[in-house]
């Protein structure tokens, strides 16, 4: 239908009980763009990301990812996305390496070089330790490794800079730039004004349940 857009929202509404959080979003996002999503706490950034990741259903309106409806074609959407959760989304009783094997089984793909991947995100020493011994920054780094391994066309990142140290934030920026070169579309909910703006093609603001563009097209 409209496969030319990486993300397409049409009058998208989502509420919790009686409280409407997203009050009608309309968006067309071209593939290959890196977009920062700003908004105060509770503005609905995570709600929007979870909706695109097929974890929440819209109350009304539509959300399409590469032309696939998040409700009707959830499976097709999930094949094309990779997510980074605020707290890393890892299991406390598995090791880093086991997570990469688990993901490979879930995504029906070969494991690839897990060691090299974990070295890239700086987890070589901890790769066989249980995640429950990790700091929050290390969990985020594991999340980055899983993101890379997924080889997806759309990245949905929830506060990717949070909890990472300075080097980790540099690493994240590098990974996002690399993804952009490969044509990956990135949508990241963030509070890191400077880093995110430097990184992204455009900035969006979620305010009072509506979406608006913060500035005209910025040079990458």
């Amino acid at each position: 239908m409209s496969a030319q857009h990486a993300i397409e929202l049409r009058a998208l509404v989502r509420g919790y009980g009686r409280r409407a959080v997203l009050k009608g979003l309309d968006l067309e996002l071209s593939p290959g763009k890196v977009v920062a999503l700003f908004g105060v706490n509770g503005a609905g950034k995570t709600t929007l990301l979870r909706l695109l990741a097929t974890r929440l259903r819209p109350s009304d309106g539509k959300a399409l990812v590469f032309g696939h409806d998040v409700v009707r074609d959830g499976h097709e959407v999930r094949k094309r996305i990779a997510t980074l959760a605020v707290f890393g989304g890892a299991y406390a009783t598995l090791t880093a390496r086991e997570h990469l094997h688990l993901d490979a089984a879930l995504r029906e793909r070969a494991v690839g070089n897990a060691d090299a991947l974990l070295e890239r995100v700086g987890l070589t020493d901890a790769k066989d330790a249980l995640v429950r011994t990790y700091s929050s920054g290390m969990r985020k780094r594991l999340g980055l490794a899983r993101l890379l391994a997924a080889d997806a066309r759309l990245w949905l990142l929830d506060e990717p800079h949070a909890a990472l140290d300075h080097d980790g934030q540099d690493l994240l920026d590098e990974l996002v730039r690399g993804a952009r070169e490969r044509g990956v579309t990135v949508l990241m909910a963030t509070h890191e004004r400077q880093r995110s703006r430097a990184l992204s093609d455009a900035s969006l603001l979620l305010d009072d349940g509506r979406l608006r563009r913060l500035e005209p097209e910025a040079a990458p």
Binding site: R18, G24, R213
Partner: protein, 247 residues
């Protein structure tokens, strides 16, 4: 928006149907209490059976419809189906509670105890527990769509359990042969008047169930409409004030 009193008015077919239920109910009571002959073994006690068995049967049917409307809601996502499922569930809870009361009324004079581990009575007690679980789940989910979907899943699992619960309760009893008499009179040849009375009371119990369910669903639907209108108002006048954001 429709005028409130206009909206709340019961449609004509429901008013006629409701008005017909009164004479039908009286006729059923007459048939059961006066017209039907006494039973050879149980005497006048057989008259309890007309109310008890018909209500029990319709109670089971009501659980089946709750699951059916739930499945429809999962399939089509129409709010009306969820409202009907909930309305049918409420009637199922009412009818199965009445079945338990009826069963106790029947057990007291025949078996000299209020409770027997009769298969059907045990099954009905389980059904009440299952339906209470259904309504607890409904009360715990705030989002209307998610409430409908989760409770539909519960209703389907509950309906599927009834045959197993029945079998287990039936076999459980045969291992402990009690003096309880099969309440539906199976194996006993009934006088034609008795059979007719039983069928008549069952049809009337079914019509009463259906009337209350449809009327309750009507109110539930109005409730849902008001909720949707309130949500729309909260969104403000223009649904997409800023137009499409393009990146």
């Amino acid at each position: 928006m429709m005028d409130a009193s206009e909206r709340l008015r019961r449609p004509a077919y429901l008013r006629i149907w409701g008005a017909l239920l009164v004479p039908l109910f009286l006729a059923a009571a007459y048939l059961g209490l006066v017209w039907s002959p006494q039973d050879v073994n149980q005497g006048n006690l057989i008259r309890i059976m007309y109310a008890h068995v018909s209500v029990a049967w319709i109670g089971f049917v009501a659980v089946g419809f709750t699951a059916l409307f739930g499945a429809l809601f999962l399939w089509r996502g129409k709010r009306r189906d969820d409202v009907l499922a909930a309305a049918s569930g409420e009637m199922a809870l009412l009818y199965s509670s009445l079945t338990i009361i009826g069963g106790m009324t029947y057990s007291r004079p025949t078996l000299n105890t209020f409770w027997t581990w009769d298969a059907k009575l045990t099954l009905t007690a389980l059904m009440v527990a299952l339906l209470v679980g259904y309504f607890i789940v409904r009360a715990l989910v705030d989002d209307p769509v998610r409430r409908g979907r989760v409770s539909a899943v519960v209703a389907i699992v509950v309906a599927a359990s009834l045959p197993f619960n029945y079998l287990a309760a039936e076999w459980f009893r045969t291992l402990h042969p009690s003096r309880s008499i099969a309440l539906d009179g199976s194996g006993v040849t009934m006088a034609p008047e008795m059979l007719f009375t039983l069928l008549f009371t069952t049809v009337v119990a079914g019509l009463i169930y259906a009337w209350f369910m449809v009327d309750r669903a009507r109110l539930g639907h109005i409730e849902a409409q008001l909720e949707a209108e309130r949500a729309k108002r909260e969104l403000g006048a223009a649904p997409s004030a800023g137009g499409v954001v393009r990146v």
